[in-house]
């Protein structure tokens, strides 16, 4: 590994560390971010889900209950 590659690797690591260990933890203390986080936690939402199976079943309860109790309203 050449010196320049080593330096580039170190600079890259440092840049990632500054953003993820320095900037983002500070951003996480902003009230808007904390409110968003609290809202997601309260409703059990996984905001990073890429498929419905990664979400809690509770999210689909409303439709399930409505469809079973009032099927005539949906068909």
């Amino acid at each position: 590994m050449s010196l320049s590659t080593t330096w580039r690797g170190l600079l890259l690591t440092a840049a990632l560390a500054v953003v993820w260990l320095g900037i983002l933890p500070r951003v996480a203390t902003w009230s808007s971010v904390q409110q968003r986080r609290a809202r997601h936690e309260e409703s059990g939402i996984n905001p990073a889900a890429i498929f419905y199976s990664e979400q809690p079943d509770e999210l689909f309860d409303r439709a399930d209950v409505a469809l079973h109790e009032h099927p005539e309203a949906f068909w």
């Binding site: 590659t5 580039r8 690797g9 890259l12 990632l16 993820w20 260990l21 983002l24 933890p25 951003v27 996480a28 971010v33 968003r36 986080r37 809202r39 997601h40 409703s43 939402i45 996984n46 905001p47 990073a48 889900a49 890429i50 498929f51 419905y52 199976s53 990664e54 979400q55 079943d57 509770e58 999210l59 689909f60 309860d61 409303r62 439709a63 399930d64 209950v65 409505a66 469809l67 109790e69 009032h70 099927p71 005539e72 309203a73 949906f74 068909w75």
Partner: protein
């Protein structure tokens, strides 16, 4: 990189597609058998209790408990959400997730090593390189699970891609890592595992309004956007056009992965489509709730509108919750119905590609045998897993036992599926250079395609949501708003 002389003649090697099917189905079978042997009786009793119970909270509790009855689940985990120190990511509710991360790496190493041996390739070189690629995937998950990133829906796919891209473009991908850079293999195996989560029964989750919003508008938007890209924008690459059209109209990253594999898109095309989708997801999850509130739109219509248009599944629920719990639930349910469409889209795209796009210039239409040879076989594994799990979930003991069984069986496999996709995106990054990525954005046409397609999607979905919930099924709207 040249492999040493293969022990198995090339003609007798297993194709990557069939291997992905074999490995994916094996994992699903092992998971199902382990659930059946270890917790079959418990699941039967729980299903009976649920069927007899009238207490909704008890049913919920029993369902949740049964879904986690997978003996493999403790051995498959990923880094958890953290805020100030990545060390926080290594435990959940006071329990270490390190065994789960190491376990997932170990299971996947064994799984793909079997594939490498069956293909007659060098196992030792693969194993060493795989450990490093897996560690890069752990890094990508760590970057994605920082709480700000996590709650603003910047999914692991983006960070996995970035980790790979930074290494390949700034440091250079070392040659010894390349034996484990197996993008298609990881994606196809992950897709077969994903098939078990595509349950066709979910299609009926919101009755006819749900079907009309998610299964009528979405294919119209997909086909129209693709044709617009071909005949108006004249995008050079059909596969880039298709992947953008599918990820914008169906469900973001998962649809992009499935379609890209079906139409054999280039890696940088998938990267471009996913990057654009995630960028617009972040914008739409902020702007759309504001528009719904500002216009005084009904929460059910607003939720259905967002569910049908915002690409990412996680962002849909998050955006809906900003309006009301009803909007969030309707949005998530519409997106779930749309998610199920990816099996059909993936199959149709694969058939269209081998029949119309890949045909020789001289021939009018390929014969059935030629279609079969060209057809991406992993799609069959994906569909088989989906059909079998849909039948199990819908059939046994009035559906209760079957649903619990499928839920418990996929509890661990969905974790492995996530790791497969994460590995694939790290590999895409490791194989791509910035100039190739820039080429796919040539002339800004992909961006124009996305914006035009999404505009049509927004207009048609809003119209259908209004038509369904305001004119045709107003009672459904009233019931959902309760």
């Amino acid at each position: 990189m040249n492999d040493p002389a293969p022990a198995i003649p090339r003609s007798r090697r297993f194709s990557e597609d069939w291997l992905a099917v074999f490995l994916g189905i094996t994992v699903l079978c092992v998971s199902m058998v382990s659930v059946w042997v270890a917790h079959g009786d418990e699941l039967t009793q729980t299903a009976e209790q649920i069927a007899a119970s009238t207490d909704k909270s008890e049913v919920k509790k029993l369902t949740k408990g049964a879904a986690s009855l997978s003996p493999l689940k403790p051995w498959v985990n990923k880094p958890q959400e953290w805020t100030s120190s990545p060390i926080e990511a290594l435990s959940a509710k006071g329990k270490s997730v390190v065994p789960g991360i190491v376990g997932a790496g170990g299971i996947l190493l064994v799984l793909f090593a079997v594939g490498i041996v069956l293909r007659g390739e060098n196992l030792q070189r693969f194993a060493g390189a795989f450990v490093v690629v897996f560690l890069l995937s752990v890094l990508a998950y760590l970057l994605a699970s920082q709480s700000v990133i996590h709650h603003y829906n910047l999914e692991y796919a983006l960070w996995a891609l970035l980790v790979g891209l930074l290494i390949s473009n700034i440091i250079g991908t070392p040659a010894w890592l390349k034996p484990a850079v197996r993008t298609e293999f990881y994606i196809k195996t992950g897709l077969v595992l994903l098939g078990a989560e595509v349950l066709f029964g979910k299609l009926l989750a919101l009755g006819l309004p749900g079907i009309c919003i998610a299964w009528i508008v979405t294919p119209i938007v997909l086909v129209t956007t693709y044709l617009f890209g071909q005949y108006v924008l004249r995008i050079e690459s059909r596969s880039l056009n298709m992947v953008i059209s599918a990820d914008m109209s169906v469900c973001g990253v998962s649809a992009a992965i499935a379609t890209a594999a079906s139409c054999k898109a280039k890696k940088e095309e998938l990267s471009t489509a996913i990057s654009m989708s995630l960028m617009f997801t972040v914008i739409m999850m902020m702007v759309m709730p504001a528009v719904v509130r500002a216009t005084g739109m009904d929460p059910v219509i607003g939720g259905a509108w967002m569910g049908g248009t915002i690409d990412s599944t996680g962002a849909v629920a998050a955006a809906g919750e900003l309006i009301s719990p009803a909007a969030g639930d309707v949005a998530a349910t519409i997106k779930m119905i749309q998610n199920v469409l990816i099996g059909v889209v993936s199959f149709c795209v694969a058939v269209y590609w081998v029949t119309f796009v890949e045909r020789n210039e001289n021939s009018t239409r390929p014969g059935l045998s030629e279609i079969w040879v060209r057809f991406p076989k992993f799609v069959l594994g994906f569909l088989a897993a989906s059909i079998v799990c849909s039948l199990i979930a819908g059939a046994a003991t009035g559906g209760v036992f079957g649903e619990l069984f499928v839920s418990a069986s996929t509890a661990a496999t969905k974790g492995l599926r996530g790791w497969c996709f994460c590995l694939a995106f790290v590999c895409i990054g490791l194989e791509t250079n910035f100039s190739e990525l820039a080429k796919t954005l040539k002339g800004g046409k992909p961006l124009v395609l996305y914006v035009c397609g999404q505009s049509l999607n927004l207009a048609l979905t809003l119209f259908m949501a209004w038509l369904m919930f305001d004119k045709v099924f107003p009672q459904a709207k009233a019931v959902l708003n309760q």
